[in-house]
Symmetry: C2
Subunit: 276 residues, 2 copies
Amino acid sequence: MNIVVSGLGIIGGSMAKAIKKYTDNFVYGINRSREPLEKALACGAIDEAADESALETADMLILGIYPDAAVAFVKKNKSRIKKGCIVIDTCGIKSKICPALKALAEENGFYFVGFHPMAGKEKNGFDVSEADLFQGASGIILPCGAPQTAVDNVAALVRKLGFGMTVFTTPEEHDRMIAFTSQLPHALACAYVFSPRCMKHKGFSAGSYRDVSRVANINAELWAELFIENKEPLADEIQTLIDNLELIKKGIENGDRRELAELLHRGKEIKEALGE
Amino acid sequence: MNIVVSGLGIIGGSMAKAIKKYTDNFVYGINRSREPLEKALACGAIDEAADESALETADMLILGIYPDAAVAFVKKNKSRIKKGCIVIDTCGIKSKICPALKALAEENGFYFVGFHPMAGKEKNGFDVSEADLFQGASGIILPCGAPQTAVDNVAALVRKLGFGMTVFTTPEEHDRMIAFTSQLPHALACAYVFSPRCMKHKGFSAGSYRDVSRVANINAELWAELFIENKEPLADEIQTLIDNLELIKKGIENGDRRELAELLHRGKEIKEALGE
């Protein structure tokens, strides 16, 4: 296949590198700024630095850009994208963008399959991208009504890139689950480090501080967009956490050791039921 | 020195193993149940399985037991503990127990120095103890008015066991900081996994889920005691987190992307100011 990767940040860059490492496909890179393209060419992450005309021969287009930008890119290039091309996004939210991308695909004779690689780092940009970023990770695939052959093509590529599992779901289910598994921990990490105690933590902290605070080193612009575009599920999830924190706080204030132990023990039971 | 370690769980067991690995001291083990004593003898973590009569010749007593049990143990054995012996606790809270242990020490001619090794695991018991558990960790020392020679002795031992740094503080400052660095992440991990989405997370999750939920696999009895004995600082810290979560939630609901990005960006600034 000829594959165009648009946006060579950590995700697009890692997809390009993984495709070159694990498959025989030809990769064109498109990027707003020049530097990542040059680095990608130099290290073999892409075969050619391209402009949007490469879309005319592309069998697959992978969007490694922010949600709004992804829709805008496809809208702008809808007549350039080859008939039958499979368009994949890699965005962290889906309900807002998948219907728009699906409609553009159906109107213009190409296919849209949503995709969310469950991997990342607390740093961004091409420099931290890695061919093996996806090793063992889950790849979430959102068929969105595309023909089964297109979905199968995406799943086959995903498996070649080292993902440990694939999950098929809808935009609504995706966004509901991601609010809990990924967005909430990011919101939480920020809320946690806002404590006046944080700047004095050294010498008093260990693994549990490190783990909760890790992703506070956030790409604020990207996550503000992701949070607001997943407003209801995320606000719900934050409220659920606040309610559960209130429950534990009341247990502490009541001072009944056995009652509090029973409440906390539910945490252990859940982790054990999950085999974690 | 003759050192008695009372309580061969993860902390007491690791202290015993580290002392045998890194120093020439003689270690007696005391434990309520027999099995950890036999395992400790078999692997060389202790030189002798003892009873409380060993306290009569001990130069140092390390308490690897829960806070209330630690005070009760010293109270019960106050007349057996050798004059000049240095008694060290390893508990996760200090304001409630240090004054009691300091008073017992002063009344009975031995010395008390508070100690909190900032290391642990999400599992408990002698089986998961390790000689190198403390490598690079912080060792918090609470002099509590003990003579400088006793404090120096403790600090010297701590450094030999592989700790990366020592911090000297008061019980009040310790408990205030620990509420933030250690107790809050444990309360939080439980509150987090209480979400109805948790049991369905597989395939939708990656590192940020794993990190926040890790310590939900909690020793509920121990932490219920630690939480309740540090009631005010911890309840305050939970409330601070709830307030900050509310702040982020409002930012999401308002839907102003720039305003939310500015708020989240404070998380990045704090982590960067800390060099993390």
